[in-house]
């Protein structure tokens, strides 16, 4: 007994014990072989000849148990492919030797390799602990998400959880690696880094310019759908996720990603959709726009232009734009013109247009192994053919029309990309996909000229800068809850667009005053960084 105790405490016992472990398993195999070899003498031949059918039953039970083992293997051997499971083990398994604890979760990087999320070793109460660190903080909280032992994962941390945690083997080389790890027992999964299309500096600038006001900024590369900016405000600090964020009503709705899920009336930015509809029909009608407005029936209030109200506030009368064409109507953002245009072209044309512009659906921004991120597109209920006034209101982006900032960015990008909408994507590895054609190439070219005129001499002339030719459209969206929402959509350079952007600031007043300067500053910053 003394001898045994000495042996167990001696240095070579560790190696010896591993040897015993192997010998033990080998002995079991040897025993199986002996049972197999002894079949001639253990065949129970002194009994009756075997009845039929029992062999089948045994085979069935054997198959059943093989099924159990196969299923067991999906936990025991390839448990890494189950994101919930790995998250559970990382937070709740106290076994120090559990490989889940060693997983060096991959970093999340922007398109230039700047770190958006990484795992740091920090000194915990008993041991060093891995802690997720988000250097850029709240500005990326919605799209990058968080990975917290208590609250799980969200955003890209959730969608790409599997590959960040080491991932499922995709290539032959990785299969080989996994096989070696399994045999040696040296499972030390290293997470894979995840590169996003986002630009850390532009997004930080966008979030800072929102300055805590509720709003969102989305910037896309029109040609391939790469998302450069996707930020929503107000936000939360992913470095300090706590229970208060999830419990109880939050008046600021900090968890809501306003960029992809917030529905707002688009106001005048929606006029580009009507303009596209008209151009696709080959029409640039000259319409009479009287100063005191337009209505479809005497029972409804008149739809008037902004100038009417400012003139009235100043105690003056306003004679209206008179007879104007589409380009001037867009530059001046004439409600009277577009309300008439919508009614003139009718319900069928409008319905067709909103379908082409992908209203009432969802678009996948990224598809990870363990989840995906979606964006909502706008919502427009079907307008009854008898409801002329509803159509007139919808034509100027009011009434029942709602959009998300991401959808407005997508529409802007399609205009910039000769009418073709590319699927917005958050990672460069995802394939470039065409979502559909929103408007004809010629219409898009003509619309780009018109939108340039909005900035060079129209409602957005305040943001015209000599460095780049910005084209855009302002929006000041009336809403029942207070001051109008401030919108601006833009792309630049106007002749060969390389970036498209949509900016929304809730209840901030004129689009030209609040949203447009943010868009201008982002485009200028992008130009400095060589993105334009």
């Amino acid at each position: 007994m003394e001898l045994l105790n000495t042996l167990f405490q001696s240095a070579p016992w560790g190696a010896l014990r591993t040897g015993l472990h192997i010998v033990f398993l080998l002995l079991l195999v040897y025993l199986l072989k002996q049972i197999w070899d002894l079949r001639p003498v253990t065949g129970l031949k002194h009994l009756a000849k075997p009845r039929a059918g029992f062999g089948l039953v045994v085979a069935g039970i054997g198959l059943l148990l093989i099924g159990v083992l196969a299923y067991q293997a999906t936990w025991q051997l390839s448990g890494t492919a189950r994101p919930d499971f790995v998250a559970f083990m990382q937070s709740h398994d106290r076994r120090q030797f559990n490989p889940a604890h060693w997983i060096q979760r991959g970093r999340i990087l922007d398109h230039r390799g700047r770190v958006l999320a990484q795992t740091r070793e920090v000194a915990g109460p008993s041991d060093t602990e891995a802690q997720r660190w988000y250097p850029y903080g709240p500005g990326f909280a919605h799209v990058v998400g968080y990975a917290d032992p208590r609250f799980g994962t969200s955003g890209m941390e959730s969608a790409a959880n599997v590959s960040l945690n080491g991932g499922t083997p995709e290539s032959l080389r990785e299969w080989g690696q996994l096989g070696r790890q399994l045999i040696t027992g040296g499972k030390r999964p290293k997470g894979r880094d995840l590169v996003l299309t986002l630009d850390a500096e532009l997004q930080t600038l966008a979030y800072r310019r929102l300055a805590g006001r509720p709003g969102a900024v989305v910037m896309l590369v029109p040609a391939d759908g790469a998302v450069r900016v996707l930020t929503s405000s107000p936000s939360f600090d992913p470095n300090r996720v706590d229970g208060l964020l999830f419990s109880g009503p939050d008046p600021d709705a900090r968890l809501l990603n306003r960029a992809t899920a917030g529905l707002y009336p688009p106001g005048s930015t929606f006029k580009v959709v009507l303009a596209a509809q008209s151009l696709d029909r080959g029409q640039e009608p000259v319409l009479s726009c009287p100063g005191d407005g337009f209505t479809t029936s005497r029972r409804y209030p008149k739809i008037r232009d902004h100038e009417y109200y400012s003139a009235r506030r100043a105690g003056r009368a306003w004679g209206g734009f008179g007879r104007i064409g589409l380009a001037r109507a867009l530059a001046k953002s004439s409600n009277v013109y577009f309300a008439q245009l919508g009614v003139l072209q009718g319900h069928a044309a409008f319905q067709q247009t909103i379908e082409r512009f992908l209203f009432n659906s969802r678009v996948v921004l990224t598809e990870g192994l363990s989840g995906r991120q979606l964006m909502r597109t706008g919502r427009i209920p079907r307008i009854a053919t008898s409801d002329q006034y509803g159509l007139a209101q919808a034509s100027i982006g009011q009434g029942q029309v709602l959009v998300t900032p991401a959808h407005m960015a997508l529409i802007t990008a399609a205009i910039a990309n000769d009418g073709v909408a590319m699927r917005p994507r958050l990672t460069p590895d995802e394939p470039v996909q065409v979502l559909g054609r929103m408007l004809g190439a010629h219409s898009a070219a003509r619309l780009r000229q018109m939108m340039r005129q909005v900035v060079s001499g129209g409602t957005a002339r305040g943001i015209d800068v000599p460095e780049i030719a910005i084209a855009g459209k302002t929006g000041t969206a009336q809403n029942p809850k207070g001051e109008p929402h401030s919108w601006f959509i833009a792309f630049a350079p106007a002749d060969r667009p390389r970036l498209a952007v949509a900016v929304l600031v809730e209840h901030a007043g004129y689009g030209s005053a609040v949203a447009a300067p943010i868009a201008r500053d982002l485009l200028l910053a992008a130009r400095e960084r060589g993105l334009l």
Binding site: M1, L4, N5, F8, Q9, W13, R17, L20, H21, V23, F24, L25, L27, L28, V29, Y30, L31, L32, Q34, I35, L38, V41, T42, L44, H46, L47, A48, K49, P50, R51, F54, G55, V57, V58, I61, G62, L65, V68, L69, Y71, Q72, A73, W75, Q76, L77, D84, F85, F88, M89, H92, D93, R95, Q96, F97, N98, P99, A100, L182, G185, K187
Partner: protein
Amino acid sequence: MSRKPPRPETLAERWQLRAPERQLLLWALVAITLGFLMLLGANPKDGLPVRWMDFLPLLALAVSFSAAHLVFSLLGFRGDQVILAVTALLCGIGLLAQYRMGVFTGEQVGALAYLVLPAGVALMTAAAAVCMNGRYRLAAPAQWFWALLSLGLVGLLLATGQRFRGGVYAAGFITPTEPLKLTVVLFAAAFIDHHVKALSKWPGPIPLPPLRALWPLLAFVALLLGLLLWQRDLGMIAILSLTLLALLLAGTRQPGYLIYGALIAGAAAYALLGLFAHGQRRIAVWSEPFQDPTGSGWQILQGLSGMYAGGLWGEGFGQARPSYTPIAESDFIYAVIAEELGFAGSVLLLAFFVILIARLYTIAARAKSPFGMLVATGIATVIATQTFLNVGGVTKLIPLTGITLPFISHGGSSLLTAFLVLGLVLAISDGEPKPVRSRPAAKRASSGRSAKPGRRARSRPASAR
């Protein structure tokens, strides 16, 4: 055609007859001893020196199984040579895992903990010795005694039972329903054997089971399962119903029983899950363990975490930390083994289970009397069902049923029952001394059944010679 060897006369011949069993048992014990060394080697690391006492469970295992082997040799037992060694190995692995979970090292470990296993082996040996040489057939005429005993056992539980973890246990956590696995099998086997002709005849153009012959069995089953249902012993209900179906099928060779059985089982399961919160909770934990990972999903997820930590080869006995899985020594013992021996270890363990189950079914297939065939089929089905329900539950393939893993899990009544039924099957495998003379069997032989003439014609002359 097999020639029946007479029972060897001299002691030397009898010793020689059991040589294969001796060889297998020896190697099984060597393997378990190595496992114990591995396990005890972890003790000094935890600050506990190894004492002679620590070898006591191993000693008890080795001595009791060797004694069983000696008794078989002395008696000239002709029965199965593989089962004893495989059982010893399974019990040994179970012992290692239980020891690991502190079953033998706690503060108030009574002599009982050490005695359960030897008592079980003794019970098995005694059962085999008493029932061998065809004597097991004496159980057949007493069919209604077994039925009454079954109901009595459930009644006993109802009278003395107390609720614990959603189930009913009698005083001292003894589960008196465990012997049901034996008594129900004996009753059903005797009943089916007695009425096999009527039960095999499915009348009419619409295939309906012969209810007139079947109703006593149905009434008994309905009463028994109803009582069990009252105690929410869903696992036992699953085992017994499956076994009854297997017996009907094996006895009559009528696939119709299987079809009706599946229909009734499906409908009953659906209805039960709607009625019992206990069952519903288990289904919910099974399908969505991550809904409540720190509450109801904790046990199964900790078990799976341990398996994942164990990986392919495991950490070795004594190295892993299976104690993080709650009550792992009984229902979740498979998770402990999978954690410490790895996926490779669990493959081997299940291989031995398949061998054991295959041996039991082989005995059923070759049993001389139809009654022996039915009893062996029933017992094999009990063990197979229990294994699948436990292992499937722990790996989250199926919902948890709270069933123990035969011969491995820590437990008194279930282990003793498992040994008892094993002894009975061993006795059946010993064969019969003379032509089968039991009254109904002889009658049937002369009348000649139409269902499967080939099978009977083949088996009959062997025993009639």
